[in-house]
Symmetry: C2
Subunit: 399 residues, 2 copies
């Protein structure tokens, strides 16, 4: 399953001592024969770029989009670590390359955890040869476990597609991400693999399309990470496949991983699918949806299961998009609370708001909200979460 | 004191039944002789504009900047209330005008409280004549109390300036604002009065200058209100005054009210003065400061008294401003934690970080953070707060 579902890949996850208490913190995903294959990456646009992001970008540029392995650690982000951080990320790749017998530029590297602390390189020098030894064709779940930070469950996904000749190809993925989930991208790492044969340029274009409709629709707290990375390796054992079919399978894996992240976001009790339609443009719909999804007051009301639509209306008005209160309509599930600029009266019967049914709806784990701005054809979906006491507990102290 | 400190103004605050339990919820500020005087207002830029904002803007336009009174209610924002809301705001002005013997357009109106509910007009029809009867030259504090929502203390300020001839003039103010404090402006209402003689156009310009350096530097949760209003009435009893001296006094009153709001923000345990310097421009400094001030992760770390500067560095990198990690410096008070792109080593002595002293510093109620981007001369100050369990308690349910 996951990154080891496609033919040609091995993975492993071990505890090497970055985290306390023997918790898994080092993962490796590699081609089975350690041969470099087509690879592509999409990275955070945060300018406070973490060292592993800098190094992985360099390596993809140096190889023209080829890689044999991805080494990942949790428990330390290797971000805001200055020159030492870059040297450490380089050394992680060199250690992995030595263990696998490949060139260091054929190794990509990801780190996740606290910002601002030097990596414990002794632990990694001992750990990387061990994780390489542990590589196994069924090691995907171990790798998924070893990249968890405040995640409570590992995140894995697999998509299989049949080709006209009856053969199949597979896309698999692992991911982590619990807080700081904000479009482009989220504090998240994801590694996908496929046995489809896809050239590097095509692979990169497919990854960008898959990410834009999935990970980039996700926001938890509006914070944009220093380390966001999504990588994909295409081994080719299944041969060439139609481009659109590949994008479709890769998107399915990314979407599944994105929803798993929202469901497991730090302290969250609700996953909210907020759809804005009727905007002047798609971009305005996305902006209004994202602003509202990141509003603390709105997030608190979801946690309280309170259908306080007034705050949503207020955020829509403050989002800087084409807006007229008189054309605004808001619904929680099928319950329309505000229609064309007027609150819907509470009562039972057509055109009235059934307050009891709405209260029941608010208790669900997944909420679907729809806001129609009544201004045009623009539409966007944002996946987000509530803001809870547990989120604060998780984030008020680093130790 | 407050709005009744300047010669020529009366005020009152009563309970009229909008809130439960006989809590004050209706305020009136008026010229002592009910004569219209110069008036100016600055309002929210939220397009989901509340009815009282629409009506007050109309009245100032109709009179060319003159008003005899301001009527204010708490407990209901009269926002997202459609046509009925506009009719109700108009009626509040008409009732006040009747009670004082002035024209309805000479009355300004403010509401604050929950969004999306029709005003209880019966309570206001009975209450407005009563609050007019209660007008008193020492009623400023009563008025300040009657506009509180989740505020825990009333907010009042007074500034007195001496003129070259030995005479004085006074500016007074009252305000409310506990959550949704976000630049331009904050969910806040403020009414200022002065006995200086200032013409409407000059008064408006002075108010805009005073607000930009005070209320507009304040952000609590990034939410922009439907009802934000700052009004000023200039009675003229103290005669003409130098323009700069008037701006100075008005700014002092606005700054005092703004800091009182931050100190009393919903659930906050810290007021944080975040100064960004060394930005390419002042606008970039303000943007980086505001983004960081509104980051939930950063706010949680202040609540936890955790000097986790890594998140601040991450936000600066994500703010979309001119940025280079290598020139970044971050300090909590006098404690430099990150200098020119490298973490400052912990230890005692010059150039090292005294972790114990920093931990002591973090326990203070007011924190002063400085971020130097090292890119230019741009500078900005943002006043903000932490994110706490109590904030969530306050905002998870409307009732």
């Amino acid at each position: 399953m996951s990154v080891t579902a496609p033919t040609g890949f091995s993975a492993a996850g071990i505890a090497c001592g970055i985290k306390d208490g023997d918790r898994p913190d080092l993962a490796l995903v590699a081609t089975h024969d350690h041969r470099p294959v087509a690879a592509a990456g999409v990275f955070t646009s945060n300018k406070m770029t973490a060292a592993p992001v800098v190094v992985s970008r360099r390596h993809l540029a140096a190889t023209g989009g080829r890689a044999a392995a991805v080494v990942l650690n949790s428990g330390n982000a290797n971000a805001a670590t200055g020159e030492q951080g870059l040297a450490d990320a380089d050394e992680m790749c060199a250690l992995t390359a030595d263990a696998l017998g490949v060139h260091p530029t054929e190794v990509l590297v990801c780190s996740t955890g606290l910002i601002g602390f030097a990596l414990p390189m002794d632990a990694l020098r001992a750990g990387i040869p061990r994780v390489a030894d542990a590589l196994a064709p069924d090691g995907g779940l171990d790798a998924a476990t070893a990249i968890m930070t405040t995640d409570t469950v590992e995140k894995v996904a697999t998509a299989v597609r049949k080709l006209p000749d009856g053969s199949v190809f597979t896309v698999g993925g692992i991911a982590k991400g619990a807080a700081m989930l904000e479009p482009d991208m989220a504090t998240m790492l994801a590694v996908c693999t496929t046995d489809a044969a896809v050239e590097p340029a095509e692979l990169h274009a497919a990854l960008e399309r898959a990410v834009s409709g999935t990970f980039n629709t996700l926001t938890v707290d509006g914070a944009q990470s220093t380390n966001d990375t999504v990588l994909v390796l295409a081994g080719g054992a299944a041969g060439p496949v139609p481009g659109e079919l590949f994008v479709d399978a890769l998107t399915e894996v990314c979407r599944s991983l994105a929803v798993q992240m929202a469901d497991d976001a730090e302290g969250s009790t609700k996953t909210v699918f907020l759809r804005v339609r009727g905007a002047a443009t798609d971009a305005e719909a996305a902006r209004a949806a994202r602003d509202t999804a990141n509003c603390q007051l709105v997030k608190c009301s979801w946690y309280g299961e309170d259908p306080y639509w007034g705050r949503i209306a207020s955020e829509m008005g403050a989002a800087g998009v084409t807006f007229d209160p008189a054309t605004l309509t808001i619904a929680y599930g099928d319950h329309v609370v505000y229609r064309h600029g007027e609150p819907v009266p509470v009562g039972s019967g057509p055109g009235l708001l059934d307050a009891g049914a709405l209260a029941d709806y608010m208790t669900r784990r997944h909420l679907h909200l729809t806001v129609d701005l009544g201004q045009g054809e623009g539409e966007a979906l944002i996946i987000t979460t509530d803001l809870t006491h547990a989120y604060i507990d998780e984030n008020m102290r680093t130790s």
